[in-house]
Symmetry: C2
Subunit: 683 residues, 2 copies
C-alpha cells in the first residue's frame, strides 16, 4: 500500500522525467534544423523562411549562440505573453477557447484545493479511526475521509464542502459560459465578411422530374425568400475530377524539381516513362512533364463538363447565398416546407469544415444509421473486451509458431519467449485503445454528420462515455465494463453509488499515479512532438525534392479535439470526485492543468495549424461534461456517506444533483442558443 | 378467485347498468325541458331556440310524441353520421383529433384482439401446467400465459406475437401521426385569415429607462423586421378594469330583468339600495339600474385612462402583428437578440387560448418555478400517501366528537357510527383523487405556461405519470407509491421488470373489473351529464331571471383534455400489457374504445363548447404516451418471460424497446415540427 513517501517518490520521478522532456525540447527547438518541426505555424503564415543560405553552413543546422541556451525556459513566459485578442487573430477562436478549458480547470480547482487543504485535511487528519480499527492502511488514508469514525458528526464538514464545491464550480462554469458566448458573438460580428455567414446549406432537396436540382433550388428560394436570395451553388460528386487535379499537382512538382536540377547542373535531366520512372524508354524529363500536364489538363476539362451535365453526379444539396446576414439567419433557423424532412436548412459550415461525403444522405437513412451506431457503440462500450480476449487467445506463442513456423527457433530462445509472453496479452488491448478514437471517428462519420467540427464533437462525446465507464469506473470497480454492466443490472439503484462510492478512497493512490504518468508525462511529450520530429527528418532526408515538398513534409498537426478533450474531462472528473474524499489528489490535478495550459498555449502559437474554425461551437459539450462529472461526484459521495452512519446526510446530499441539473438546464436555456443560432438583431 | 363465470356475471351487470344509463339518457334527451342540457352546442351556435311558447304548454316540458320514443337509440347512428370535414367546421380540429384517440385505440386493438384470440388463446389453453402444479387457479388463468409450463417452446408464440403487436401498433401510430399532421396543416391553411396567424407574442422585453414598452417594441421591430412589421399591442395588467366591466354587465342584466317585469306587470318595480337589495331605502329599480350603469361607465373610462398611463400596469409583453404569415413565421421561429432570454418570440396563441396571468414572468423566475414544481410533483407522486394517512388519523370518530361535541349523540348511534367508520378512512383519499387533476393544473399554472392549451397538455402529462405509478403499477405491486419507490430503489434494474412482470397475470381479473366499472360506467355516465342536468334545473328554478341568465345557466362544458386523455391512455397501457399475457382483457378494452368513441362524438356534436382551438397541438403527447405504454409492456413481458426458463428470450425481447424507441425518435423528427413550427413555403 502506497505511503506518502511512495507518492512523493513517484512525483519526484515524474517531475524529473517531465523536466528532462522539457529540457530536450528547449535544446531541440533552438536548432535551426528543427525550426520547421517546432515553429511550423509561422512558416504557414509566411512569417518565417528556411534559414538563409548566407553565413556558415553549420549555422543552418546547429545553433552555436551560447547565450540563447541560457534562456532555455524562455518559451514559457513567451507562450503566456501573447494577449487573448491577438491570439484569436493568430490562431482562431477555437484554439483560444480550447485553452480556456485548462483555464477553467485552474479556476475551479485552485480555490477548491485551498479550501480542501484548509478545512478537510485537518478534519480528516485529527482522527484515528483507521488506527483504532487496526486495518492495514497507508498514511494517505489518514488524510482522506476514511479516517473519520462511523457516525461522526465531522462528516458535516464534508457535506458543507460538497455544497461549497458545487456552488463554486457552477459559478465558474456560468461565468465561463457567458464569457465564451460573448467571445463567440463578438468573433462572428467582428470578422471580415466571410461568405459562410451569408450562406445556408440546404439538404434533402426532393427530386423533381421536370427540373434539375439547380433550377429547383432557384425557383424555390425565389418564391420563398424573394427579397434575400442571391445565388446558389449545387454540390457535385466529383471524385474523379479531384483525382485528376491531384495528379496534375504532383506532375507540376516534378516539373519544378527537374527545372531546379537543370538550373543547377545546366544539363537537361532525363526520366523513364514507365513505372516510378525506372523502366521504359528514356525521354527528356522537362518536356515529358510539360506534355503530361497538358494531357491531364485536357482530361480535367472534359471531366468537368461531364460532371456538370451528368444528373447522377449532382447531389440533392446546395449552398444558397443570401444578400444579407439577416436573410441567411432567417432561412437557417426556419422550417421551409410542411414536410420537415425535405429542404433541411442550416448554417453552412466553413468551406474547409464541410465533410463532403455526407451531404447527400437521405433522411430515413440518417435515422437508421443513428440507430445502428447507437447500438454498435453500446456494444463497443460494454463488450469490447470479448473480441480482445479472443484475439489474445489466438495470439499466444503456439499460435505464432503454427502460423509462422520459420520464427520458431527465434521465439524458443528463453529471453524472447518471456518477453513475448509478458507483452503479447496486453498488446491487443493497447492497440485497441490507441486505435479507439479513430474507430469512434469512423462511427461518427457513418452517422452522417456534415461538418468536421460536428464529427469531432460527436466523437468526443463517445470517447468521454468510453473513458467514464472503462477507465474511471473500470479502475474503481476493477472489472471489465462487461462485468460492471452485470453489476449495474443486478445491483439496485440505491446500491450502485454505494458500491462505487465505497471503493473510491481506496483508489486514490492509483489515480494519483495515473495523473502523473498519463497527464504530466503526456503533456510534456506533446511538446516534444516526437512523431512529427522523426517523420520530418526522415522525409527531409529521403523524399524532399523541392521547397514545396519541404513545406509538405512539415506536419504542423492540429488540436485533436475528439481525442484530447475527453482526456481533459477525465481530470475534471477525478478532481471533483476526490475533492471531498481525498484532497491530496488535487495538487496533482492542478499541476496537470497548469502545465497543459502553458504547453498547449505554446503549441497553438507556434505549431498547430487550424483545420477549420467553428467559432467555439464545442463549448456546450465541454460544459455538459463538467456538469456530468459534478453530478457523478455528488452521487458517489452520497453512496460513500450512506455507509458512514449519518442518515441525515442522504436527503441533504440528494439536493446537490437536483440543483446541479437545474443549473445545467438554466445555462442551456440561457447560453446555448448563442452556439446554435444567430440572432437577428442588427448591430 | 374469479372464474370466467364471475367475470361474465360482472360483465352482464355492467352492461345492464350501462344500458340503463343509456336508456335514461335516451328518455331525458327527448324532453324539451332538457333541451339546453343535452344540446347546448346548438344553442350557442344560434341554431336552436328555447321551445316556442306556441302550442300546448305541456309540450314545452314533456315530449308526448310516442313515435320518437321508439327510435330511442337513433342518437348513435346520428352521432356517427356527420362526416369529419363537417365536424371540423362544427366543433374545431381539437375535438375531431380528440375523437381520433378512441379511433386509434380501435385501430390498434381490433387486429390485436383477433390475432391474440386466434393464436395465443389456443396456445395457452391446450396446456395444463396449472393443473399439474395443483396450484389454486381460476379458469381465466387457463387462457393466460401462466398456463404454459416452465421452459416450454410455446413461449416462442408469445415472442413472435410481441413483435407483431409492436409492428402493428407502430404502423397505426405512424399513419395516425401523418394523418393528424396533414389535417393540422390543412386546417391552418384553409382557415379564414385568423389574426393570430399573423401575430407573434413577444415576452421578456427588457426595461428601458428612456422609452416606454410600446415605443421600444415599435423601434425594435421596425429595425429588425422592417419589411414585415405591421403593428403591435402591448399587454396591460387591467384586473380592476375587468372587475368593473363584469359589474356593469351584471347591472345590465338586472336592468333587463326589471324592464321585462315592467312590461309584463305594467307596474314599475322597486328595489332597495342596500346589501343584496334587501336593506336600505326603496327606489325605482329601473332608474336605479340606469344610474348605476352610468356611474360604473364613468369609473371604467377613468380606470382605462389610468391603466394606459401607469407604467406599472404595462407588462413587458406584446402581441406583434405582421403584414404576412411569412413575416410572422420568421419572427416566431428565430432568435431576436444575442441574449436568448430577452425578446422571446413565439406564435401567439388564439386570443381565447392565452393564459394572461403568466405573460410577464421573467426568465430566471420561470426556471426556478420549473425546478420547484419538478420537485413538488415528485413528492406529490411518491409521497402523497403521507398527508392523506395523517388526515385519516385525524378524521376518526373521536376527533370529530372532540371538534364538534354537539354531534356526539348523533354519531354514537350504532348505524351511523359503523357507516362513518367504514366510510371516513377512504374519504380523504377519494377527495384527493377527485381534486388531483385540479391540483396538477394549479401546478402547471405556477410553472408559467402562457396558453390554456399548453397548460392542459402539461397537466395531462403529470396526471398520466401519476396514473401510471399509482393506479397501474400501484395495483400490480399492491403497495403505495412510497413503498414502490422503496422497492425500485432497492431492487436491481434487472429485478424491477421481473417483480412487476410476474405479478401481471394475477391481476388480470382486477383490471377487467376496473375497465368495466371505471371505463364503461364512466363513459355512459358522461353522456347523462348528471351534474350539468341537476345544476341547470336548479338554476333554472331559482336564479334565472332573463333569457340571458338562462343562456348562462346552460353549462355546455368542454372536453377536459387534462383530465380525460390520461385516463384513455391507461386503457392503451392495459391493452398493450395484457395483449400477450391475458388476451381475455382485450375485448373489454375494445368495448370501452367503441363506446367512448360514439358517446364523445355525440357529446362533441351536441354538447361541448370549445374553449379554445390549438389545432391538435396535443397529438405529439398522445403519441408519446402510447409509445411509453408500448415500451412498458415490452419491458414487463421481458420481466415475466425471464422467470419462465427461456434464456434465449431475453436478447430477442430486448430488441423490441430499442426499436420502439427508435421509431419514436424517427416520428418525432419527421412529424413533430408540424405541431411546433409553421413552414415558410408559400402555398
Amino acid at each position: 500500500m502506497a505511503t506518502i513517501y511512495d507518492i512523493g517518490l513517484g512525483a519526484a520521478f515524474n517531475i524529473v522525467t517531465a523536466t528532462i522532456f522539457l529540457l530536450i525540447f528547449a535544446f531541440l527547438r533552438l536548432q535551426p534544423v528543427n525550426d520547421r518541426v517546432f515553429f511550423p505555424k509561422w512558416y504557414l503564415k509566411g512569417m518565417r523562411d528556411s534559414p538563409s543560405s548566407a553565413g556558415a553552413a553549420v549555422n543552418k543546422y546547429v545553433n552555436l549562440d551560447v547565450r540563447s541556451y541560457l534562456k532555455f525556459l524562455s518559451w514559457m513566459p513567451a507562450a503566456l505573453k501573447m494577449p487573448e485578442e491577438e491570439l484569436i487573430e493568430h490562431a482562431g477562436l477555437d484554439s483560444v477557447v480550447y485553452l480556456r478549458i485548462y483555464l477553467t480547470g485552474l479556476k475551479i480547482f485552485v480555490p477548491i484545493t485551498i479550501l480542501a487543504f484548509g478545512v478537510l485535511v485537518p478534519v480528516n487528519w485529527t482522527n484515528d479511526a483507521l488506527d483504532d480499527l487496526k486495518v492495514v492502511h497507508s498514511d494517505i488514508d489518514n488524510l482522506s475521509i476514511s479516517n473519520i469514525p462511523y457516525g461522526s458528526k465531522r462528516f458535516i464538514a464534508h457535506l458543507v464542502m460538497a455544497y461549497v464545491f458545487m456552488f463554486w464550480t457552477c459559478y465558474v462554469l456560468k461565468n465561463e459560459y457567458e464569457r465564451v458566448a460573448t467571445m463567440r458573438l463578438r468573433f462572428l460580428a467582428s470578422e471580415k465578411r466571410r461568405p459562410d455567414q451569408f450562406t445556408v446549406l440546404v439538404r434533402n432537396i426532393p427530386p423533381d422530374p421536370d427540373e434539375s436540382v439547380s433550377e429547383l433550388v432557384e425557383h424555390f428560394f425565389l418564391v420563398n425568400h424573394p427579397d434575400h436570395y442571391l445565388k446558389h451553388q449545387t454540390v457535385y460528386n466529383a471524385n474523379k475530377l479531384a483525382d485528376l487535379v491531384e495528379k496534375k499537382k504532383k506532375m507540376r512538382n516534378w516539373l519544378d524539381y527537374y527545372q531546379n536540377k537543370f538550373e543547377r547542373k545546366s544539363k537537361r535531366p532525363t526520366t523513364k516513362t514507365g513505372f516510378l520512372g525506372c523502366f521504359g524508354s528514356e525521354v527528356d524529363a522537362i518536356d515529358h512533364c510539360k506534355s503530361e500536364i497538358e494531357k491531364i489538363g485536357k482530361e480535367e476539362a472534359e471531366e468537368r463538363i461531364k460532371v456538370m451535365k451528368d444528373p447522377k453526379s449532382i447531389m440533392p444539396a446546395a449552398f444558397v447565398s443570401f444578400r444579407s446576414r439577416w436573410g441567411a439567419a432567417v432561412c437557417a433557423q426556419t422550417q421551409q416546407t410542411s414536410n420537415p424532412t425535405l429542404w433541411l436548412t442550416e448554417w453552412a459550415p466553413e468551406p474547409r469544415d464541410v465533410y463532403w461525403s455526407n451531404l447527400s444522405i437521405p433522411f430515413v437513412s440518417l435515422t437508421v444509421r443513428r440507430l445502428i451506431i447507437g447500438v454498435a457503440f453500446f456494444f463497443l462500450n460494454f463488450f469490447y473486451v470479448i473480441p480482445i480476449a479472443f484475439v489474445q487467445t489466438l495470439a499466444n506463442l503456439e499460435g505464432i509458431e503454427k502460423a509462422l513456423p520459420f520464427l520458431k527457433p527465434l521465439i524458443e530462445s528463453p529471453s524472447i519467449k518471456s518477453f513475448i509472453q509478458g507483452f503479447l496479452p496486453g498488446l491487443a488491448l493497447k492497440i485497441f485503445l490507441i486505435v479507439l478514437p479513430t474507430i469512434l471517428m469512423y462511427m461518427s462519420q457513418f452517422e452522417g454528420l456534415i461538418s468536421q467540427s460536428s464529427l469531432e464533437r460527436r466523437t468526443a462525446s463517445k470517447y468521454f462515455i468510453f473513458l467514464f465507464f472503462n477507465v474511471f469506473l473500470g479502475s474503481i470497480v476493477t472489472g471489465s465494463a462487461l462485468e460492471q454492466l452485470n453489476t449495474y443490472l443486478h445491483a439496485s439503484a440505491n446500491d450502485i453509488p454505494r458500491i462505487i462510492g465505497v471503493a473510491i478512497p481506496m483508489k486514490a493512490t492509483f489515480f494519483i499515479t495515473y495523473v502523473m504518468v498519463d497527464g504530466w508525462a503526456g503533456v510534456s511529450l506533446e511538446i516534444l512532438r516526437i512523431r512529427a520530429f522523426v517523420l520530418y527528418h526522415l522525409k527531409n532526408f529521403f523524399l524532399v525534392k523541392t521547397e514545396k515538398d519541404r513545406e509538405e513534409a512539415m506536419d504542423p498537426g492540429s488540436i485533436c479535439f475528439y481525442w484530447s478533450e475527453p482526456r481533459i474531462q477525465l481530470y475534471f472528473l477525478l478532481g471533483l470526485v476526490y475533492a471531498a474524499v481525498t484532497p491530496l489528489l488535487l495538487p496533482f490535478i492542478l499541476v496537470f492543468f497548469a502545465l497543459g495550459y502553458v504547453v498547449y498555449r505554446h503549441q497553438i502559437i507556434n505549431v498547430y495549424h487550424q483545420r477549420y474554425e467553428s467559432g467555439a461551437q464545442f463549448w456546450p459539450n465541454v460544459h455538459l461534461r463538467i456538469i456530468v462529472a459534478l453530478i457523478a461526484s455528488q452521487l458517489l459521495l452520497l453512496g460513500l456517506l450512506s455507509t458512514k452512519g449519518l442518515e441525515e446526510a442522504t436527503p441533504v446530499l440528494l439536493v446537490l444533483p437536483i440543483l446541479t441539473f437545474w443549473f445545467h438546464k438554466y445555462c442551456t436555456h440561457r447560453y446555448k442558443p448563442a452556439f446554435v443560432r444567430n440572432p437577428l438583431q442588427r448591430r
